[in-house]
């Protein structure tokens, strides 16, 4: 058994502040990599900002905003191979875009349309998980199963600070640790679970401390620092592939937007604090970093944004072009061999709807 050290409590950072705190760099990342990370951040940011607009226009339904969560998603996925599996929560709904999934698929999910359902094996991206923490054991099982088959793939489970209170999180983390499954437990600590602040969620000093109880390493990174997230995930992936089991990554950020479109945080979050956090949001910080390195011009930034916007325009057009789903779809897919009662139910439904 490898010795497990107390969890790291210091936040790992790479990006400086342009003033007193110097910029670092991540070994092994080329300029192309740095620009590709930027492109991905912009893709996610654009998806999120457009989705909010589409929601207000009534073109998608209730939507879980992930503004200022993009660095956690883009940074961690960049450390994965295509064979590795992603287990998203609703907060990472558009993470499949980083694997080439069409924007229309994710938009359709939020439009309550069946074209928003995908085959996880097409993208190695599991279905969006809505019940908090319940996908953590799935990710543990996938990682364990790959290991049993002698394959090198690992898995990442994304969940929030609130999710660490759920039994399913604990059971999944423990399983992965005991089976030494190649799993990365990626905690998006945005410090709120709807209206419940972190201090009402846990008495632990940090969430990474929880790793100690499972006998696995726990690290903390600045979740708005895409490079720090990338580096920490890369380290965890290396451990996982080497057969050393799971790592818990606590990425600390701040939910600078409502929980979802249906939520009004003014009742429980200090708006001044939100404004302060918006100042250090992840995309702006990364762009400033790239500019300090002389890697990003206004023109290049504009081109990246235009490309992302185009992807969204295409996506929403495609999603809206889908015809309304036929009622027959109610009975499709739940079972490989549907019972005869489904045919009877559908026939009766059609008869009643028809006249």
């Amino acid at each position: 058994m490898a010795q497990v050290l107390p969890a790291e409590r210091d936040l790992r950072r790479v990006i400086g502040d342009g003033e007193g705190v110097p910029d670092g760099e991540v070994e092994g990342l080329s300029e192309d990599d740095l620009l590709e990370l930027h492109r991905r951040l912009v893709q996610l940011r654009t998806y999120d900002e457009r989705s909010l607009v589409y929601h207000r226009q009534g073109r998608i339904g209730t939507y879980a905003i992930f503004w200022n969560h993009e660095a956690m998603q883009a940074g961690s996925v960049y450390a994965l191979e295509r064979e590795d599996w992603i287990f998203p929560s609703y907060r990472e709904s558009a993470i499949g875009l980083l694997r080439g999934m069409p924007a229309s698929t994710v938009l359709s999910w939020w439009r309550g349309h069946p074209t928003g359902w995908w085959n996880p094996a097409d993208w190695n991206v599991a279905s969006i998980c809505v019940p908090i923490g319940t996908h953590v054991p799935h990710a543990a099982g996938l990682a364990w199963g790959k290991k049993l088959r002698g394959e090198s793939a690992c898995a990442v489970a994304y969940f929030g600070d609130g999710a660490t209170s759920e039994g399913a999180f604990h059971e999944g983390a423990n399983f992965a640790a005991v089976m030494r499954a190649p799993l990365i437990l990626f905690c998006n600590n945005n410090q709120w679970a709807i209206s419940t602040p972190l201090e009402a969620q846990t008495a632990a000093e940090t969430l990474a401390d929880k790793a100690v109880g499972y006998g696995i390493p726990g690290v903390r990174v600045d979740g708005a620092d895409v490079l720090a997230v990338y580096e920490a995930t890369r380290e965890a992936v290396t451990r996982a592939r080497a057969g050393d089991g799971p790592t818990f990554i606590e990425a600390v950020t701040y939910r600078a937007a409502p929980h979802a479109t249906a939520d009004d945080p003014s009742a429980y979050i200090d708006p001044a604090r939100v404004e302060e956090e918006k100042e250090r949001e992840c995309l702006g910080r990364y762009e400033a970093y790239l500019r300090r390195l002389g890697l990003l011009s206004d023109e290049a930034a504009e081109a990246v944004r235009a490309e992302a916007l185009e992807r969204m325009r295409e996506g929403i057009a495609q999603a809206e072009a889908e015809p309304a789903p036929d009622p027959a779809l109610l009975f499709s897919h739940a079972l490989a061999s549907p019972p005869a009662s489904f045919d009877q139910d559908l026939a009766e439904l059609r008869r009643v709807l028809g006249g």
Partner: protein, 324 residues
């Protein structure tokens, strides 16, 4: 009387009951600072303090399990499950302990806790915000289950649940939280558990429903108005069931349509139908029929209207009975 929405009536019940009994406390996810995601617990934390309206960690099994211990310490906890489908982690505690503990103590100890949750579909929500899980709860021995369909009943049944010495699960039709308004008695108002409500009297066909299906049954009765006289019965308390009211409503017309939003197989409607088969055979002029959700996962929302029982399906079922 005050004119309140259904969710305002629930909030009113809380204010009255927490004031009346200092042992009553409210606990759940986001019930305190935010006053609940539907605002059912608004104002309680400010008025009664953070120990009597508690924002718990995000853990439904923890909420209900600790409520069992709180009962042992003399409290009367009212637990909120944020949504129907998010209550499932609490089923372990419900089945293995909540429904058995009193029995296990030879009746020596009481567990006067309440579990309440918004339930049901039709609200255009993402997956797992639409379930009708009443059968899981009804099927658990040792717990009572109530489902209001009006603002006044929402207040009165919750008050009864809070005062009851046994565990009570209250499911609230979220579709009608804000769309249904009605007269609600001010101050203390209790609707006893175990009493059904005759919504309208009729002689030709009886529609039996509960929760969100009651307004639907009324709309179907309106649609049938020119043809027949329709009786509508609101079950209100699924367990203990007001069997006498069910049998009387069935005997009056001899034709019964049971409406249930949940999937059909082994749903609560099957229990009602079984009771009618056992005890009302000679009063029936036609088979008992059910209009229900289907035996499939609750669908994505663009297709949910086809899943939900509709006025058309209820009218069609009533006509089939009349032509039988």
């Amino acid at each position: 009387m005050a004119e309140l929405t259904l969710v305002e009536a629930i909030n009113d019940a809380f204010h009255v009951e927490l004031e009346r009994d200092p042992d009553v406390m409210v606990m759940g996810e986001d019930v305190g600072r935010a006053g609940g995601v539907f605002r059912a617990t608004a104002g309680l934390r400010d008025r009664f303090g953070p120990d009597r309206c508690v924002d718990t960690p995000l853990a439904e099994a923890g909420i209900l399990g600790s409520a069992v211990g709180l009962c042992m310490a003399g409290w009367r906890p009212v637990c909120e499950m944020q949504y129907d489908a998010f209550s499932y982690p609490c089923l372990d505690q419900l089945i293995t302990h909540v429904g058995r503990y009193r029995w296990r103590t030879g009746g020596a100890m009481e567990f006067p806790l309440v579990v309440r949750m918004p339930y049901g579909g039709g609200v255009r929500a993402p997956e797992l915000h639409d379930d009708s899980p009443e059968a899981y709860y009804v099927h658990t021995p040792g717990v009572k289950v109530a489902i209001p369909s009006t603002p006044a009943d929402a207040k009165g049944l919750l008050a009864a649940a809070i005062r009851d010495p046994d565990p009570v699960v209250v499911l609230e039709p979220k579709l009608h939280y804000r769309t249904l308004r009605g007269e609600v008695p001010e101050g203390e108002h209790v609707v006893p558990l175990g009493e059904a409500r005759t919504v309208r009297e009729g002689t030709d066909v009886t529609l039996v429903a509960y929760g969100a299906m009651v307004p639907l049954a009324e709309a179907a009765a309106d649609a049938l108005d020119d043809e027949v006289s329709t009786e509508v019965l609101d079950i209100r308390t699924l367990k203990p069931l007001d069997e006498a009211a069910l049998l009387a409503a069935a005997a009056k017309t001899g034709r019964v349509v049971i409406i249930q939003e949940a999937p059909r197989t082994a749903g609560y409607g099957a229990e009602l139908a079984a009771i009618l088969a056992e005890k009302a055979m000679l009063d029936l002029r036609a088979p008992v029929v059910r209009v229900t959700g289907y035996d499939v996962p609750y669908p994505y929302w663009q297709i949910e209207d086809a899943y939900m029982p509709s006025v058309e399906r209820v009218v069609d079922a009533a006509r089939r009975l009349l032509e039988f």
